[in-house]
């Protein structure tokens, strides 16, 4: 009897709870976290800050995910990884059901085989590219410390800690899944790194935009499906890599897409300040925070970066208000505040090109106009009407 009544009670409770959510404007929301896994950048970052470990960051992230879930029964989370050398960008939670089944059911040997075949195909591609990476001189050292970290993560948190401590079931499931996924990622990573290094210095591009793009498509799908039509969403990016790993045009495309969808992109930046990510969060009404004290990451994540989309219009966001919007010259890479823009391809130049041709699209500029731009300002003897003269 107890069991039956119990179930009935919980069911009605759930139903009423849902109704309440519809009546009051407390719609559930989705939190998407994108974790930057760039191995080289992590290594550099950890060398600079002795007291930081990747483990701390993941555990802080898990705390944040759990607290988001605890806020509302309808809340959802998803986790992506980006900049990983082996996998590029990938969703690690929630995994597609069929993928999970395949992974659990199929033998490891089969998996290995398919992985190998994948690798070889990728390798062929890479051989065709002959882009060189500049700073790969101390390659062998890189792999070893990574291994150590991997081993630490591998054994301790996921298997032992979670199972021993009594925690809320849903949290446990999610935490385990995410940690397992990260484990397996990191197990692959050193091999991949070594391979990349042995195949004479290949160019690997950053995949942060890929992760954001996928996250946005998933959010789009979610907001269009009937069950979760009013679902609000936000994306949080935990980034360690610098601006050089971000492809400019695709990053801008993702920013505008997010802006149109009214999805905020929050940025939790470890390491150096990133101008692109600052602009990202500014354009999408998000929060940008440079983490100065990585040991207190949990605090940052659970306060400044924990603002629900519904609260955004009310809360004053803890973000910088003065942002560097200056552009960089396409040719000299100098940061400029007054520049010249080609009317055909919109590339930004810091000076008038000497050959009077656009360096990117090779279209010829009008000679008269260039001459006028190059004209030096003249001091007129009389105070006639002041004319604007371009330098």
């Amino acid at each position: 009897m107890d069991a039956i009544s119990d179930r009935a009670f919980t069911e009605t409770a759930a139903n009423t709870a849902q109704n309440i959510h519809k009546v009051i404007d407390e719609t559930p929301s989705l939190l998407t976290v994108i974790l930057d896994l760039h191995p080289l950048e992590w290594k550099a970052y950890m060398e600079k800050n002795d007291n930081v470990e990747f483990r701390q960051v993941t555990s802080a992230m898990l705390v944040m995910l759990n607290s988001h879930l605890a806020l509302n029964s309808g809340n959802k989370v998803s986790v992506y990884v980006a900049n990983s050398f082996y996998h590029g960008a990938k969703r690690i939670f929630p995994m597609n059901e069929e993928d999970l089944k395949v992974e659990s059911e199929s033998d490891t040997s089969i998996e290995r085989k398919s992985d190998e075949s994948k690798q070889s195909s990728v390798d062929i591609d890479e051989n065709e590219n002959e882009n060189n990476d500049d700073d790969d001189d101390d390659d062998d050292e890189i792999v070893k410390p990574k291994r150590r970290v991997v081993n630490q993560i591998n054994t301790e948190p996921s298997k032992q800690l979670l199972k021993s401590i009594g925690i809320y079931g849903q949290f446990k499931v999610i935490d385990e899944k995410i940690l397992d996924a990260l484990d397996s990622l990191y197990n692959d990573e050193p091999e991949r790194l070594r391979e990349l290094i042995s195949k004479d210095k290949n160019f690997v591009k950053g995949t942060m935009t890929g992760a954001i793009s996928s996250a946005l498509t998933a959010i789009n799908k979610l907001q269009k499906s009937e069950e979760t039509i009013n679902m609000k969403a936000r994306v949080m990016i935990i980034s360690v890599s610098g601006d050089n790993t971000l492809p400019y045009v695709s990053m801008m495309n993702t920013i505008f897409a997010a802006q149109k969808m009214k999805v905020s992109l929050d940025v939790c930046k470890l390491g150096e300040t990133s101008i692109f990510l600052q602009q990202t969060s500014d354009a999408t009404n998000g929060v940008y925070i440079d983490i100065k004290h990585p040991s207190g990451l949990i605090q940052y994540l659970s306060s400044a970066l924990f603002i629900e989309p519904l609260l955004r219009p009310i809360v004053v966001l803890p973000t910088n208000t003065s942002i560097d919007f200056r552009a960089s010259c396409f040719v000299t890479n100098k940061v400029i505040d007054i520049g010249y823009v080609c009317s055909v391809c919109l590339c930004i130049l810091s000076m008038v090109p000497t050959d009077e041709k656009c360096p990117t699209c090779f279209s010829k500029f009008e000679h008269k106009l260039i001459a006028r731009m190059k004209r030096k300002p003249k001091v007129l003897p009389l105070e006639v009407k002041k004319r604007k003269i371009a330098q």
Binding site: E98, E126, F203, K205, S214, N220, F256
Partner: protein, 496 residues
């Protein structure tokens, strides 16, 4: 029965899709309108030929053989209608199939928007009436226009009482125009339209525009006549001379003078420049099509003078605790942007500095126009087959419907689950025997469901670069808003 009527309309959606696949750039359905006004004969015939009325052979639907909705939905081999129903649902979602060849486009645009505000706009064939619907769509157009063409300028002119009146002057600030349009809502449409007056007025507005900008006029024309003070043909000649592009969206039927106008100012390209709306959705589509910048014609790109280089300032943003006056509106604002040239303060971007005339812009604004210059390749529809390699959409990870061969296999081989799993894992590399069997089965079903072979689709759309499969929702989203392929971006090696 109402429901049935709804579903009968479904195949027209399918047809529309088929038509779109042929990449006919204009809507296939305005042929009837063409016919109506070919001879310059402006009749009072139907304003809209609902596309649901169109039949397969290009004729009207009533000339077709009648097809019942329940004939279309047929069970497949397994007795399930799931695949067909999902196919029907999907065929109604229109895929993004625009031309994506990268063109040189006139990115810096100047446009005059001419709105018909004569008494014909009081007509109630659009709800609540023509003028208010036109204005609400125009507001949408203005915000989209500045969203995608951030360094362009716009002006709005109305035709009313036989005169042309400026609603908003040429400016690059979307809010000015939207405010003006909202004020216009309170004005009642009146009198006759005068095309010549409006054209002369827009010509005057576009006269001083620099050579690196495009000069465009977009006319929304509801009437079937124009009352002009002089010879409109000479006006058209001067427009041609000044290289002004004119596009017309007709609300009623094709009018000979508009046809001539568009033909002469667009190098004879009538298809993209002159269209008549079929219904509200089509109206919206047509007006939003004008947001994309025009491709530069060959003659223009080969011009001898060369292109221009524009001097622009990239101001930095400041924030103050005390409000200060901005130099553009003299309003009190907290913070704002500082012009790098003269250090005056402006409150919104993009704008032209009121003190030193320098064009002020954010670098992100420039980046907004990039997707017109480097469009994303279209995805290819994966051909229907028994087995598919991909199980779920790459980006949103929603599962795809299974291939028919796979479904059959799942039913037929009720042996071991593991065995079956392995075969589906292998995907394309299935043993030859089973593959043949599937092929046979495929052809059989095809033969049987001759009627709805068109409906059967794989639901997978593949990027040709990274060879990942996407669902229709993601395909639409990726091409319309994102302009990034998640598959290509997620690959850690550079795609060549």
């Amino acid at each position: 029965m109402d429901d049935d009527d709804e579903s009968i309309r479904v195949p027209s959606g399918v047809r529309r899709r088929a038509n779109l696949n042929v990449r006919s750039s204009d809507s296939p359905n305005n042929k009837s309108d063409n016919r109506e006004a070919k001879n310059g004969k402006v009749t009072e015939t139907k304003k809209k030929a609902p596309e649901a009325l169109k039949g397969v052979n290009g004729g009207y639907a009533w000339e077709d053989e009648y097809r019942r909705s329940w004939d279309i939905v047929q069970e497949d081999e397994s007795g399930s209608i799931e695949t067909i129903v999902s196919g029907l649902v999907e065929s109604q979602k229109k895929r993004y199939l625009k031309n994506v060849t990268p063109f040189q486009r006139g990115i810096i645009r100047t446009m005059v928007l001419v709105l018909d505000y004569s008494y014909v706009m009081r007509e109630k064939d659009f709800r609540p009436n023509r003028s208010s619907m036109m204005i609400s769509y125009t507001i949408e157009f203005v915000s989209d226009f500045f969203d995608q063409n951030p360094i362009s300028q716009l002006s709005i002119v109305i035709m009313r009482n036989g005169l042309a009146q400026v609603v908003s002057e040429v400016s690059g600030n979307p809010n000015d125009h939207i405010e003006a349009l909202k004020r216009l809502k309170r004005v009642e449409p009146e009198g006759d339209p005068s095309l010549q007056n409006a054209l002369e007025m827009s010509r005057g507005l576009l006269l001083h525009v620099a050579t690196h900008c495009t000069r465009e006029i977009l006319i929304i024309f509801g009437a079937l006549f124009t009352s002009d003070p002089g010879n409109i043909h000479s006006t058209i000649q001067s427009l041609v001379k000044e290289k002004i592009n004119i596009r017309v969206i007709g609300l009623t039927a094709r009018v000979a003078i508009c046809e001539e106008l568009c033909k002469l100012t667009n190098f004879g390209d009538l298809k993209s420049s002159y269209n008549v709306v079929l219904n509200e959705m089509h109206f919206k589509e047509l007006i939003l099509d004008c947001v994309t910048p025009l491709a530069v014609t060959k003659a223009e790109s080969e011009n001898t003078d060369g292109f221009t280089l524009v001097k622009m300032g990239f101001p930095s943003r400041v924030s103050d605790s005390e409000p200060t006056l901005c130099s553009c509106h003299s309003r009190l604002v907290y913070g704002g942007y500082i012009c790098p040239n003269c250090k005056s303060r402006v409150c919104t971007l993009p704008t032209v500095c009121p003190c030193c005339d320098l064009m002020l812009i954010l670098s992100t604004h420039l980046a907004r126009s990039y997707h017109h210059l480097f469009p994303l390749k279209l995805f290819e529809e994966v051909p229907v087959s028994g087995f598919y390699k991909s199980k779920h959409c790459y980006s949103c990870q929603v599962s795809f419907p299974k291939g028919e061969g796979e479904m059959k296999k799942m039913r037929d081989t009720k042996i071991d689950k593991d065995d079956e799993r392995n075969s589906s894992d292998a995907g394309i590399e299935t043993p030859r025997e089973s593959f043949n069997a599937i092929n046979k089965h495929e052809s059989k079903t095809n033969f049987k469901n001759k009627n709805n072979s068109r409906i059967k689709i794989s639901s997978r759309y593949r990027c040709t670069n990274c060879e990942q499969d996407f669902c229709i929702d993601c395909d639409i989203f990726i091409h319309e808003t994102l302009h990034n392929c998640p598959g290509c971006e997620s690959k850690c090696t550079r795609v060549t």
